[in-house]
């Protein structure tokens, strides 16, 4: 009690989600060493994520600074972390029967997935520049490797390498920007301290700070794939093993948008007038480029990649308005997007294992022959296109509501125009599945066998696949009709921002 050194008090209860994930990670690495335990790895991964989710639910109302204020647990981090953990658990289930995991060794694959989840959860809690960067790298680096795990396919290796190079470039830009903000705010790293430093120093329009904001924007834009920093997205989405794509499409956006919200709405709050127009321009570009790019794709994964670019543009609107309502709408939209993407990619995985192809044309006649592919895919596409009665429609309504409220009507119109363009490609998928008779085997000349899995359980009997797909599809419809529970959940994120900015 009378020692000279006083360690910072650690709130173990609030840190418990991270601890659960870290313990799980270590345990999985150990199973890789002890061969007989290998089969336990998927269970362990799910268990540790479930425990982490349980801890988050337990800590749901907590608002506290942890570890000397470098981490923060509040409504924003708990809601986003829970969604990330859902994505992680589903990814483990999707990957269970996947060939990619078998090639690199299942425990290794899962360890990387879990460390990526760990990094993402930490990122949602990041409350200073150092954790911001550390957590970002913590989730990115395993993700680069995960993309390359389908060793047989050159496309997968290429995706990993491409993601690594472009991702590193993004990280470097981000770090550079952080250094400038650090200088501009008078040597502060904590988000709230930065905000105070910027106001006190009177450097709001200082070019150093503006440059820093610009570079951080670019760095984050790389991560959430906002145009014109999106070029990696379609290639990586297509090249990566589909369970990995399913995971990263939702979870990466969640993690990056969490820190996007926290950093821009808290640390850069005094600068709102400086960055909102920049972001609005980026959002417009993203919506335009993403939607136009998606129009001509023949691979469903590439199309979803471009659609992800456009969707990131819509989501950015939630940041631009700089209100709690905006964050609520963003969170709701991200949750809906996660469900829609998990349904779409899940259906695609089933389809791939049956036919070995991810081309849109190969889905012909699925409405007759494979309901487990056709229905979830239809619901997901209608949701992404923003048609009622899906959560995607209401998500757009909420975003537009937040925009109109702050007089950003022109951006709302941009979203609407983007949505119109997007109908053309989302509905093409639906049309192919329902309006044509099944294609005779091999007729489209694209049964390349590359992704074909023969033997074992047929994919539509694989409960690990079917159950999450069904739950995700039902959720898309359910929250489109009864949005209130999800909206309440999402509004915790907005409340957290509100209590941070006062």
């Amino acid at each position: 009690m009378t020692g000279t050194f006083e360690a910072p008090t650690l709130d173990y209860a609030a840190l418990s989600p991270l601890i659960a994930l870290a313990v799980g990670l270590v345990a999985i690495v150990l199973t890789a060493v002890f061969r007989p335990l290998k089969r336990l790895a998927p269970g362990l991964a799910i268990l540790s994520m479930a425990v982490a989710a349980g801890c988050l639910v337990w800590q749901f109302g907590t608002e506290a600074d942890l570890v000397s204020g470098s981490l923060r647990i509040d409504g924003l981090s708990t809601t986003f972390s829970l969604l990330i953990l859902i994505a992680g658990i589903v990814a483990v289930l999707y990957a269970a029967g996947d060939i990619a995991g078998r090639q690199v060794g299942r425990p290794d694959f899962l360890a990387m997935l879990l460390s990526s989840v760990f990094g993402m959860v930490m990122l949602t809690m990041a409350n200073d520049l150092i954790i911001f960067f550390l957590a970002l790298e913590f989730f990115s680096i395993p993700l680069y490797v995960l993309c390359a795990t389908d060793l047989r396919r050159p496309g997968s290796l290429e995706a990993g390498l491409k993601y690594l190079i472009i991702g590193s470039l993004g990280s470097a830009t981000l770090l550079f920007g952080m250094a400038m903000i650090y200088g501009g705010s008078g040597g502060e790293v904590g988000f709230q301290a930065i905000a105070e430093g910027l106001t006190k120093g009177g450097v709001i329009s200082d070019s150093l700070v503006l440059f820093g904001i610009g570079m951080i924007t670019v760095g984050l834009a790389f991560k959430v794939s906002i145009a014109p920093f999106h070029q990696w997205t379609p290639d990586v989405y297509q090249g990566a093993p589909t369970p990995v794509t399913a995971f990263m499409s939702g979870a990466t956006k969640l993690a990056a948008f969490a820190v996007f919200a926290r950093f821009f709405l808290v640390a850069l709050a005094p600068e709102t007038d400086q960055w909102d127009v920049i972001l609005a321009v980026l959002a417009t570009l993203s919506i335009a480029i993403g939607n136009l790019g998606a129009l001509t794709q023949s691979s469903l994964k590439r199309m979803l990649g471009y659609s992800g670019v456009a969707q990131a543009g819509y989501m950015l609107a939630g940041i631009i308005v700089a209100t709690a309502d905006g964050v609520d709408a963003l969170t709701f939209y991200l949750a809906a997007y996660l469900a829609m993407n998990l349904a779409a990619f899940g259906a695609l995985i089933v389809h791939e294992r049956m036919t070995g192809s991810d081309s849109i044309a190969s889905l012909r006649g699925a409405g007759n022959s494979h309901r487990i592919v056709a229905w979830p895919m239809t619901i997901a596409m209608l949701g992404l296109a923003g048609l009622p009665p899906t959560a995607g429609f209401l998500g757009k309504v909420f975003l537009i509501e937040a925009l109109a409220d702050q007089n950003w009507v022109w951006l709302a119109i941009v979203i609407v125009i983007g949505t119109m363009l997007s109908l053309a490609y989302y509905l093409r998928v639906v049309a192919v599945m329902w309006t044509n008779d099944p294609a005779p085997q091999g007729e489209d000349g694209h049964i390349d066998g590359d992704l074909l899995v023969t033997g074992g359980t047929p994919p539509w009997k694989d409960l690990g696949l079917v159950v999450p797909i069904v739950i995700a599809s039902v959720a898309v419809i359910f929250f489109g009709i009864f949005p209130d529970p999800l909206y309440d959940f999402a509004s915790r994120a907005g409340d957290a921002i509100l209590s941070l900015t006062g």
């Binding site: 509501e401 609407v416 049309a431 309006t435």
Partner: protein, 492 residues
């Protein structure tokens, strides 16, 4: 009560998904009849002198002031009845022709989902709820037209449907922005959000907002109608659509657009409506002339009906934007009437196509000799279209023109020519199908009892309305008066 009415079709649609495929039509027919019965009971209990009735209001998304609010008044009551009525022959016709093909369950599910969505649009008293149902309407019809549609020369059913969907959703999505903006900007700042339409009317919307929000709504409604020049999707979609789905689509969905003007635009944005009145009237007249002229150049029966609908909806728009009671009453009457006539007309196209093997009037003719009853039924439908005195169309168009004459004489005179044009295309359609010699190889069977039972009841309603228009007009008067109250006060 209204919730039951609203969700009943969908409930039966879900049941239809579960029963064996060959039984699905029974479930669907029971569902549509049950809906009609409930709608009729509701209409009987409706008090013509009262305002909004059977109101149900519970919070839906309380944080944003969005509620699940339903209600009927004089504007919506007959459109709700029309919807419930139109679906019965459509389902019956589909059942008699096995229109669902090898996916009957899905077919009836989509058809009944369409009924719920359409009823929802007419019943919704919350602006966001209205937008939700308005957008939802198009989803089942996308599947109905796309899956069970016919590929035509030059365009597949799928492509035609995507075209339709993109056109209509452009409008609807702009309306989302409009609706949300109304909520955000109505009333004093800081009073909290509401989207309950009566509250929005009370709060009022600043004139500068009205002027641009007006066009966001107008775009949605004009595309849905469709009105010239936003009808680009119509010809292909009409040719692709399966007939039972087309019958309800043409009869009811097009009315939702016109209804939207009366429910949302006129009461909430009166200043803008007045400001842009002349522009809209000119659009409406253009629709009348264009629709009529194109209708008599077409040989395809579906297109004749489609383009004549453009003309009819032009009349309806004209009546609404006369911005007085007479015109609005006429417009509302005409909406009901056009819906009643179009369903049998389109189903008769199906009967003719079965006899001649084509829907093109070129090779048709001569049916009147051997099938006089069918000819008479078709004649009634034709006469009802061309506003012959003694038809309800005459009453509707008379009221509309009467209203417009008081606002703008020049436009009324030009619009009157539309009545003459209608006579031309309607009579041409009748002559080419029923008179002239019977072509070789055509089947000149009389209409069967079953088909008669499907087609005739709606025409009976038309005939009744012709002689007793007060049934409708007396109940609509109060609500119409309220809808145009903002304008009549100014002129008085």
């Amino acid at each position: 009560m209204l919730s039951i009415l609203l969700w009943l079709p969908l409930a039966f649609g879900l049941v239809a998904l579960l029963v064996p495929a060959y039984r699905a039509w029974v479930v669907a027919l029971i569902g549509s009849v049950a809906t009609l019965v409930i709608a009729a009971v509701m209409a009987i209990g409706f008090d013509g002198s009262g305002g909004l009735q059977y109101v149900e209001k519970t919070p839906w998304i309380p944080d944003l002031g969005i509620s699940y609010a339903l209600g009927v008044d004089g504007i919506s009551i007959f459109l709700v009845l029309l919807t419930a009525l139109a679906w019965v022959p459509a389902v019956a016709f589909a059942a008699s022709r096995r229109a669902g093909g090898d996916r009957e369950r899905l077919f009836y599910f989509m058809l009944l989902l369409g009924e719920t969505a359409t009823l929802g649009a007419f019943l919704a008293q919350d602006l966001i709820l209205f937008v939700v149902f308005f957008d939802l309407m198009i989803v089942p019809f996308y599947f109905l037209f796309g899956i069970w549609g016919t590929d035509r020369e030059g365009i597949t059913a799928g492509a035609a449907t995507v075209k339709m969907l993109i056109f209509t959703l452009i409008g609807s999505l702009l309306m989302v922005v409009g609706a949300v903006s109304v909520g955000a900007f109505a009333g004093e700042p800081g009073t909290g959000l509401t989207y309950y339409i009566p509250d929005l009317i009370e709060r009022g919307l600043g004139e500068s907002y009205q002027n641009w929000i007006f066009w966001l709504f107008a775009a949605a409604f004009f595309v849905k109608m469709p009105a010239f020049p936003l009808h680009g999707w119509m010809p292909d979609a009409y040719r692709a659509a399966p007939l039972p789905a087309l019958a309800v689509f043409s009869a009811v969905l097009s009315k939702v657009g016109a209804y939207g003007f009366l429910r949302v635009v006129l009461p909430i944005m009166p200043d803008a409506a007045e400001l842009f009145q002349t522009a809209i009237l000119i659009f409406a007249v253009a629709s009348i002339i264009y629709g009529s002229v194109v209708a008599f150049t077409k040989l395809d029966l579906r297109l004749i009906i489609g383009f004549s609908s453009i003309a009819q909806l032009g009349f309806i728009t004209l009546g609404i934007f006369a911005l007085d009671e007479t015109g609005a009453n006429g417009a509302l009457f005409q909406m009901v009437n056009h819906g009643l006539v179009v369903v049998p007309a389109i189903l008769i196209v199906g009967l003719l196509a079965e006899r001649f093997g084509t829907e093109n009037i070129g090779p048709m003719g001569g049916l009147a000799k051997r099938a006089p009853i069918l000819a008479v039924i078709f004649l009634i439908a034709t006469m009802a279209t061309l506003a012959l005195p003694g038809s309800p169309n005459f009453i509707g168009e008379f009221l509309i023109l009467n209203g417009v004459f008081q606002t703008d004489v020049a436009i009324a005179i030009v619009a009157s020519s539309g009545v003459a044009l209608a006579a031309y295309y309607a009579l041409r359609m009748y002559q080419r199908t029923m008179h002239n010699p019977l072509p070789d190889g055509a089947d000149d069977r009389e209409i069967s009892l079953r088909d008669g039972l499907i087609v005739v009841p709606m025409l009976l309603v038309v005939v009744i309305l012709a002689f007793a228009p007060q049934i409708v007009l007396s109940d609509t008067a109060v609500a119409v008066e309220q809808a145009v109250a903002a304008f009549t006060e100014v002129t008085r």
